[in-house]
Symmetry: C2
Subunit: 252 residues, 2 copies
DNA sequence: CTCATGAATGACTCCAAGTCACGGAAGCAT
DNA sequence: ATGCTTCCGTGACTTGGAGTCATTCATGAG
């Protein structure tokens, strides 16, 4: 599926399909839905375009008509999955009012529950991040930086305005650190495949997880938090009642 | 290539080949070498097992005899590539003596040069991290945590013993943070595909890169550094003369 | 009703991973 | 050397999925 260093030509197939006609939008959407399930359940390679078409009762050719290639289809699936996630600032107003790190805590504590409700998009984002192809990965990276689907930039600005984040560093750097560590931390939290031993060594105790989350946030706070705040050793992040964890919004 | 969530059976092919006979070791090694070049140059998917065999003048079947599958072959390639990298503590004695963060600086400043000399293993590790398959990724993750090829654990212990790292957090957490951020930072530094805009926005000025590296280390120091040190705002990390950058050791 | 254009089809091609029955080589005992 | 066995290499073969395309079908405009 196209090389990386070598063969300089071969225009990526994601751009091949012509501008979508109005009517076909609905069908496109159905295909993406079905494909999302297939990819999530089987992984990128094991998902078969033919199967996806079959579950929709349409011809395989149609799928290619719409998306040009399996990669192209997956890319659309990926975008939809990632766009379905909540942005940081979608946290409830009272949590936002409590502060930057409370918002992070809010989402981290909840991810697991949110995931259980709706694991498919999460699986897709995992595939996009680790399980497809470097060529596609470049496209995905471009998408993530231009679209900022988690609203990290706005969120960091929010933290800066509140004086909770250090101002002696440009926004991009803080955004990157946040994205990198949050992503990996959540991956470790959620999937055995990617845990370097933070969660899966001892026996899955939920309070242990909670402690890890606090530990992680303490680290983050010292790293990107404003000096005044972190010097004061950071006031405690509000605890969240267990009953409160039966989520309502989407996912982070 | 086996599913993820579903089909519970199907033993992974990486373990199928019988215990290696002494004589065949040499051939295995040759195959791995050739495969490494092919994978690095073409990416995982575009690399053809047939081509690899052809460049060696052997039959495709032999490759499968030795490695069971393309995945299995790649896994061996990956392990060799990653093992060829330097460990953190392979930095020269005087750099080590200067301290934990000086060691990090030493490697970061040098990676680009080291890469230019020997880009193939780096490309392989990139493929392993982002461009294959989640199933393989699990295997890779297991390998990374059991083998610790960069010697991160020993390095963190080193930093702890010198009192440069905070002691109020367990080693695993610090190791994870270090691994995660260093990996992503280096990826951004080295490959356009994975840069979220830290390096490739303005025009590639090398002193800008150096500033980024210092910025990144400052962040890291506040995050995982001992309070006493980071409070004192961290003494300056020794600069390294430009002439000194024409590397001699392997890679990070 | 007719024509034009876009959408759907499925049989078909292409191609790469993976298999296997065979033949030859290398060890080993007698 | 001779036979026996075990391992190794081989390449023609099978399998199966991605992607193509000539054709048919649907739709809507005039």
């Amino acid at each position: 599926m196209s090389g990386i260093a070598s063969n300089p030509v071969a225009p990526p197939r994601y751009m091949r399909h012509n501008a979508p006609r109005p009517r076909s939008e609905a069908k496109r959407s159905h295909i993406i839905d079905a494909a999302m399930r297939h990819f999530a359940e089987n992984g990128y390679h094991a998902a078969r375009v033919g199967d996806i078409a079959a579950t929709l009762g349409i011809a395989k050719g149609s799928v290619f008509q719409h998306f040009g290639s399996k990669d192209g289809l997956f890319f659309e699936v990926y975008k939809r999955a990632v766009r379905s996630f909540s942005k940081y600032l979608d946290a409830p107003a009272d949590v936002r009012a409590a502060g930057f790190f409370d918002v992070l805590y809010y989402w981290l504590v909840r991810t697991e529950h949110l995931l259980r409700e709706d694991w498919i998009p999460y699986r897709i984002s995992l595939l996009g991040n680790y399980g497809t192809d470097l060529v596609l990965k470049r496209e995905i990276n471009r998408f993530l930086t231009t679209e900022d689907p988690y609203g990290t930039v706005a969120f960091v600005r929010f933290g800066l305005e509140r004086g909770e984040l250090r101002k002696d560093m440009d926004v991009e750097m803080i955004v990157s650190i946040l994205d990198w560590t949050m992503e990996r931390f959540q991956d470790a939290l959620l999937t055995a495949e990617l845990d370097p031993g933070l969660f899966r060594k001892q026996g899955e105790m939920p309070e242990k997880k909670e402690a890890r989350i606090r530990q992680f946030l303490a680290l983050l706070q010292r790293a990107v938090g404003a000096a005044s705040v972190s010097q004061v050793r950071g006031r405690e992040i509000r605890k969240i009642a267990a009953a409160d964890l039966i989520a309502k919004p989407k996912t982070v």
